[in-house]
């Protein structure tokens, strides 16, 4: 009996092994993507909205059959809108969870992790990083899906120059996003014939901004404010309490619905800003906006960069599919190939998947517009002038970049 049982067990084990090797398909590996973004802190509103957009993309990808036969899984970490939080979150996502790529990062975190991304061979996608540093430092393992502050600063100067020739600039120190845009705005405004009446730099740690506001509005009725959302909220509260009036120019960090709702419309027609402008008739945008509305219950806002957050996931998934691998280096090598011309223009992951399976080259045209990466992993964006209206932001017009002001 004992001999028979051993013989039977050997046959069963051999059969299982043979079936595994010959007939049964290998289990496909899931495509793990980290979402490392500010869900709390200054970038909280953008992070929350962007996470919803990324989830819309993931659902669309999985509905189309997933990546390399496996499902895409988003693993979320809150970086508290800080570079320090990004480094901590990176370790959790990359070293512990083993993600193939990290998406959703802001400027400070992307710059802090620039070398680490290359060393780990894990691509970083920046949906809304503005820092001018990425204009030349990106393209290896850091890629961004929006124009840089070097463009935004110029366009802000264009908008301001149409309203005034004399402006005061208030800049919060210690942040890539705020100092970077002011450093571009100031020379651009000067190139356009404008005068910087006051260049006020201050720490966000101040208990009150009364003195800074007094100096700014003492110098000009037109004031450009470059702060993060938390500091901007405090500063604008004091601005409203002292009723300074005048005209405000706000950087994208302040183009949030919380700001638009200030003082029950007190900023309507008083504050102006720059925000990405999207072609709302483009099939990718229509498809995204429909899915986003169905998931979240509202349309994407012109100020929240949701299409960019969505596109970063689609591009990563297409690159992994084109590479036939979930390895970071292989994905990195395909990011420009699936996005840039030449190739069949595709407006969704599903169309891209079909084309790739047919052996065709593709050029993804996203919800945020053409995703044409240059050698530094940057894309060109279109921008619009926005102003608060009824608790939200409305686009007044699209603005074409005046390269003479650069």
């Amino acid at each position: 009996m004992i001999v028979f049982n051993k013989w039977k067990a050997c046959v069963v084990a051999g059969g299982v092994a043979a079936l595994s090797a010959i007939g049964a398909p290998a289990m496909a590996e899931d495509f793990k993507v980290g979402i490392l973004t500010g869900l709390t802190g200054g970038y909280g509103p953008w992070g929350e909205a962007g996470l919803n957009a990324a989830r819309v993309a993931a659902e669309e990808i999985n509905a189309a059959g997933g990546v390399n036969g496996g499902v895409i899984e988003l693993i979320v970490a809150d970086n508290h809108s800080s570079a320090e939080g990004s480094v901590t979150g990176w370790r959790r996502l990359v070293e512990v969870r083993g993600v193939s790529a990290v998406a959703g990062l802001e400027s400070g975190g992307a710059i802090a992790l620039l070398d680490e991304a290359a060393a780990s061979q894990v691509p970083i996608m920046c949906p809304a990083c503005g820092t001018p540093k990425l204009a030349t430092l990106g393209g290896d393992y850091v890629w961004r899906l929006t124009g840089g502050d070097d463009d935004l600063g110029v366009i802000m100067a264009q908008i301001a120059l149409e309203k005034t020739k004399k402006i005061a600039v208030m800049t919060q120190l210690g942040l890539e996003a705020t100092e970077g845009i002011s450093d571009v705005f100031i020379p651009s405004f000067g190139s356009g014939g404008g005068e910087i009446a006051a260049n006020i730099r201050f720490s966000g740690d101040l208990a009150s901004f009364r003195g800074e506001l007094e100096r700014a509005f003492g110098a000009s009725e037109h004031v450009m404010i470059a702060t993060d959302l938390e500091v901007g909220t405090r500063l604008l509260t004091e601005y409203l309490r002292r009723d300074y009036g005048g005209t405000l120019y706000l950087i994208p960090e302040l183009i949030a619905n919380e700001v638009a709702a200030f003082g029950n419309g007190a900023l309507d027609g008083v504050a102006f800003g720059v925000s990405p402008s999207y072609d709302m008739e483009n099939p990718a945008f229509v498809n995204f906006a429909t899915a986003f509305n169905a998931k979240v219950g509202n349309d994407p806002s012109p100020a929240m960069y949701e299409p960019n957050y969505y596109d970063q996931i689609i591009v990563l998934a297409l690159a992994a599919q084109a590479a036939g691998s979930n390895e970071g280096a292989a994905i990195r090598d395909q990011l420009a190939n699936v996005s840039n011309a030449p190739g069949k223009v595709v407006y969704s992951f599903a169309d891209g998947l079909v084309a790739l399976n047919n052996g065709e080259e593709i050029a993804y045209y996203g919800a945020s517009g053409a995703v044409d990466f240059n050698e530094f992993g940057n894309v060109n964006s279109f921008y619009g002038e926005v102003t608060p209206s009824e608790g939200g932001w409305v686009e007044l017009r699209t603005v074409e970049l005046d390269t003479n002001l650069r």
Partner: protein, 288 residues
């Protein structure tokens, strides 16, 4: 003149905040680092009460009282049992309490990182060459009314006499049947409530944010060193002076150097007059 006025506002709030800190220092002997977090609680409670539909003055009063009660409760739970373990134990425990309060606030904080108390005090108007608002004048008025009330409380009431007795010599006061536990509870209530009130005033000036407590405790420490940690009135005067110095300095140098001004003032005070600008210590020694 406008910046002197701004300095007066800053200094008035600092005087209220530092007075409570100095009271605890005088009676307990240690620096209560949790005092800054009581400011934060004051601002938060006011925002909460105001959101419930209460009048801003009622909301601010209730918030101050609530913070006072929190301060007494924490004192009984943490600081009183540690009284005989030494000042360092109490000091380090106060740091622990500060982090616990801060952590609880973060854990229960909802919405964005900023709480704005949307009370409307009307448009600014000119008072001579200075632009003022009713809200700012009220903040200065409430601050100095509180300081005056504290002065009368300490000098004209039986409890005030007891408090001064305990501050001078706790053992002697106990022998003379002064109810020291009640006295200490009253002191902790008053000190914490004043921190809460300072938080209310800060919230009314601008907004309340999660780092408020940490920001203010450093300035309060600076004020205490300048005023002389054992001199309540000196600390209040130092609060006013430091507020004026910081706001006026922003006219001449960038406000990013405000911290340097604040702590530069501490270093200068420690070098020139280590006992504090208004300390009576030397004079008392001379008189003996």
């Amino acid at each position: 003149m406008q910046f002197i006025y701004f300095g007066l506002i800053t200094g008035s709030v600092l005087a209220v905040a530092a007075a409570g800190f100095a009271m605890v220092r005088q009676l307990e002997g240690f620096l209560n680092i949790a005092h800054g977090q009581y400011l934060l609680l004051g601002g938060l409670f006011t925002a909460g009460f105001y959101k419930l539909g209460l009048n801003i003055f009622v909301a601010g009063f209730l918030a101050s009282v609530a913070v006072g009660l929190v301060g007494v409760a924490i004192a009984w739970m943490v600081f009183f049992p540690l009284r005989y373990k030494g000042l360092l134990s109490q000091f380090f425990s106060s740091i622990g309490v500060a982090f616990v309060v801060y952590g609880l606030v973060l854990a229960t904080w909802s919405g964005s990182g900023i709480k704005v108390i949307p009370a409307d005090f009307g448009r600014p108007f000119d008072l001579g060459s200075i632009s003022v608002t009713f809200g700012e004048l009220m903040i200065i008025g409430v601050s100095w009314l509180t300081v005056l009330m504290l002065h009368f409380f300490l000098t004209k009431t039986t409890m005030g006499v007891w408090i001064r007795a305990v501050a001078s010599n706790r053992e002697l006061a106990r022998v003379r049947s002064v109810p020291s536990d009640i006295v200490m509870s009253v002191v902790w209530f008053a000190a914490s409530a004043m921190a809460g009130l300072a938080g209310v005033l800060v919230g009314l000036l601008g907004s309340v944010h999660s780092e408020l407590g940490w920001q203010y405790i450093l300035t309060i420490l600076a004020v205490s060193v300048m005023g002389g940690v054992n001199n309540l009135y000196g600390v209040m005067a130092a609060g006013l002076i430091l507020g004026l110095v910081v706001d006026l300095s922003s006219v001449f140098i960038s406000s990013q150097y405000g911290t340097i001004v604040t702590f530069g003032a501490i270093i200068l005070t420690l070098i020139i007059r280590p006992q504090g600008l208004f300390s009576m210590q030397k004079r008392n020694e001379a008189g003996q």
